[in-house]
C-alpha cells in the first residue's frame, strides 16, 4: 500500500512512548519539587572532592 501508514504508526508509537515516560515521571514525584534537584546536582562535586580528601588522609 503505502509507506505512510508505517510512518504514521511508528511516529504515533514514539509519541506514546514519550507520553508514558512523562506520566511515569509525574507519578514518581519528579514534578513535586522542581527546586531541590537543581541545588543537589551541584553537590556531587563537593562530595567527590571530600572523598578524595579522605582517601588522601588515610
Amino acid at each position: 500500500m503505502s509507506v505512510i501508514y508505517i510512518l504514521i504508526t511508528v511516529s504515533i508509537i514514539v509519541a506514546i512512548v514519550f507520553f508514558t515516560l512523562f506520566v511515569k515521571a509525574v507519578k514518581t514525584g519528579q514534578y513535586d519539587d522542581s527546586y531541590t534537584p537543581s541545588v543537589r546536582m551541584l553537590f556531587e562535586d563537593e562530595l567527590v572532592k571530600e572523598n578524595n580528601k579522605q582517601t588522601k588522609n588515610k
Binding site: F22, Y31, D32, D33, F43, E46, Q54
Partner: protein, 790 residues
Amino acid sequence: MESNCYHCGNPCEEDTIVHDGKSFCCNGCKTVYEIFSENELTCYYDLTQNPGATPNEIAGKYDFLDQPSIAEKLLEFDDEHVQIVTLYIPHIHCSSCIWLLENLQKLQTEVSSSIVNFPKKTVRITYNSEAISLKEIVLLLCRIGYEPYISLEDYENGKKPIDRSLIYKLGVAGFAFGNVMLLSFPEYFEVDEFWLNQYKPMFRWIMFAMSLPVVFYAANDYFITAFKGIRSKFLNIDVPIALGISVLFIRSVFEIITEAGPGFLDSLTGLVFFLLLGKFFQQKTYNFLSFERDYKSYFPIGITKINLDGTEETVQVYDIEKGDRLLIRNEELIPVDGILIKGDAQIDYSFVTGEADAVTKQSGDKIFAGGKQTHGAIEMEALKSVSQSYLTQLWSNDVFNKNKDESFKNITDSISKYFTIAILLIAIISGLVWYFVSPEKAWNVVTAILIIACPCALALSAPFTMGNLLRILGKKKCYLKNANVLEQLAKIDTIIFDKTGTITAGNKMELSYEGVTISNEEEVLLKNTLRNSNHPLSRQLYSILKANNIVTLDSFEEHTGKGMEATFQNNSIKVGSSSFVGNATATETLKTAVHISTNNHYKGKYIFKNTYREGIPELFQELSSRYDISILSGDNESEKETLQHLLPNAVELHFNQKPSDKLEHIKTLQEKGKNVLMIGDGLNDAGALKQSNVGIAIAENVNVFSPACDAILDASKVKELAAYMKLSKTSIKIIKTSFILSFIYNIIGLSFAISGELSPVVAAILMPLSSISIVAFVTVATNMFGKNLK
C-alpha cells in the same frame, strides 16, 4: 572581642568560646561544629556562611514519640525493618541545609537515605527501624540544630495525597496540541495534491482520536464548574469556555464525518492547553507556608501526665481529662486550662495575646491553654479538656466554618455574565439573519461565532496577572494565599491594625529610667542581682545595663511574683514590684516597670516601653489619606498618648479589646458596607483575621507561627504595606486593560464569523495569537510595576 559565631552567624557576646581557631557564641553551636568536624562534614560551612542554628534544649520534649500509637500516625511507611518519615524542619533555608540533611547517613549509619524538599522545607528520612527509633532520629536532628516541627495537626491529618492531576492534564493537552497541529499542516496550505487528498480522512480521524482525551479528560474541570455555575444560576467564565469547547468539538466531528472540512481540532486542543497553562501558572502556592492554621498546629501531640502513684507517663493531649496532673517542662505549651500546683510559673502568652512579657503565676492560680512555660518545670491540674478550653473555644465561632473564597465573585466572573449574554444574543441574531439570507450557511455562522467568541484571552488575563504579581510579592516576603486575595485587597477601604506585635516589635523593648540617679556601686549590685534571676524582665534589664564587674553576692533571695533582694558587703538592694520595694507613692500602674530600692531607700524605676516598628508613622500618614484606619489593642491604655502623638489624628484607637470584641468590631463595620483589612498577629487575632475581607498576619519568622489568614507578611516589610496595597489596585487596572484588548480580538474574530468567512486556518492563527499577546502584555506590565517595589 566582637565577632560573629562561625556556626550560626549571631554576634558573639561576653562569653565567646574559641575552638579550633573559630569563635562560637555558645556551647550549643560549638557542639554542633564538633559533631560535624568529627564526621568530616565541615563542607557544610563552605557552601554558605554561618548556616547553622543553635540547638535548643530538648530534654524530654519528644518522649511522646516512643508511644507506638503516636509514632504510627506520623510514619509514612512502616515495615519490619524499614520506616520512612517526612519531617517539617523550619530551619531549612540554604544549600548548606540541603547538603547536610542529605548526608545524614554519615552521622548515623542506620539512616539509609534522606531527601530534602526545599520549597516545602521537609526532609524524608528512610531508616532501619530495628537499629534506631523515630525518637532518636528526631533527637539527632535537634542535636545538629535542625529541630523538626511536630504538632497536633500532623497527628490529625496524617498523610495528604498529592494532587497531580493538573500536570497530567497539561501533559495530555500539550501532547495532543502538538500532534494535531502537525497533522493539520497540509490543510492549512490547502495543497491540492492527489496523495494528500487520498490520506486526508485518515489524518482527520487521527486528529479526532487525539482530541478525545483533551475534551473528556483535560477539559473536564471547565464543564464541571460551568455546570455548577448554571445550577446555582450564575454565569461564571467557565460557561462560555465550556460552550466554546463543546461547539468546537461537535462542529469538528460533524465536519469530519461529512467530509466537509478538517474541523477546528487544532484550535480546540490549543485552547485547552493555553487555559490549563494559565491555571498552572496561577496555582503557584507557597508550599512551606500554611494559611489554614488553627490551634492544632500550635499544640504538642503528647504531654507528660503524672499518675497517682507518682510515675510519669506520656499521653496524647486529646486523652487529657479533667483532674489529670500534668507536667509542663520548660518551653512547653500548656494544652488545657488548669490550676498551677507546683513550680515557678513564668507563662508567656504571646501566641495568644501577642504580648511578649511573661506572666508570673503562683500555685493555686488559674493558667490558660496556649501559654508557654518559660522557666523550669511546673505541675498543673487540668480543669477542662482540650476542646473546651478558653482558647480553643474561639474556634467554635461560626466564622471558622465559612469559606471566604466561595462568597467572593472575582473580576473575570463578574464580567463573564454580560459577555455570555452578549455572545448568545449575537449568535442568535446573526443565525436568524443568515437563516433568511441563505439557510444552509446559518449553522456554520452560529457555530463559528460561538467558537471564535470563546473567551480564551479573557480567561487568561486575570490568572497571568495575578499569578505573576503573587510571585513578585512573594519575593518581597509578602505571601498571599491566592489570586482572589489580591483582588480583595484592591477593594479595601478600612484598615484595622492590632497593636502589640503588629505595629510594635514583639521582642524589642525600650527602657527608660525615672528617679534618683543610681551610683556606680549600686549599678554593679543591681546588675549582679539581676544576673541571678530568670524573670524575663530581669533578663532584659540585665542585657541593657552597662556595669560589668561580676561579684559574688553575700545573699540573694527571690520572691516569686514580687521581686528579689540581695546584699553585698554593706549594701542591700530590692528589685521588683512597686509595693515590694516599699514605694510609698504608687502612681502609674499601667506601665510595665521594675522598681529599685537600696538600703530601704526608694530609688526609682526602669520603665519598659514597646518600640514601634520602623516607618510606622510614615506608613500611617500615607494610608490615612486613602483609608479609614483604626487600632484595636488587647492592652490597656498606657500607650494611648504615645500613639496619638505618633499617628495622624484620623486614626481611631480602641483599647482593652478581647478577641471576640475584635471580631464583632469588624462585623459591624462590614454590615455598614465596609471592606475591612485586618492586620494582626497572635492567636487572639485569629477570629478577626478570619472575619475580615482580607486578613494579613505579621510574622517575625514566616516559617513558624502565624494564625489562619489570607496573607502572611514578613515583619520587616510592614512599612511597605502602602506600596503593596497600591500594587493591588494597579493589578486590577492591568486586568481591565487586557480585557479591552481581548474584546478587540473578539470583535475582529466575530466580524469573520458573522460574515461566514471563518476558515480553520484563521481560527488557528487568531486564537493562539490573542492568547499569547494577552499573556505577554500582562506579564510585561506586571513586571514593570513590580520593579518599583522595595
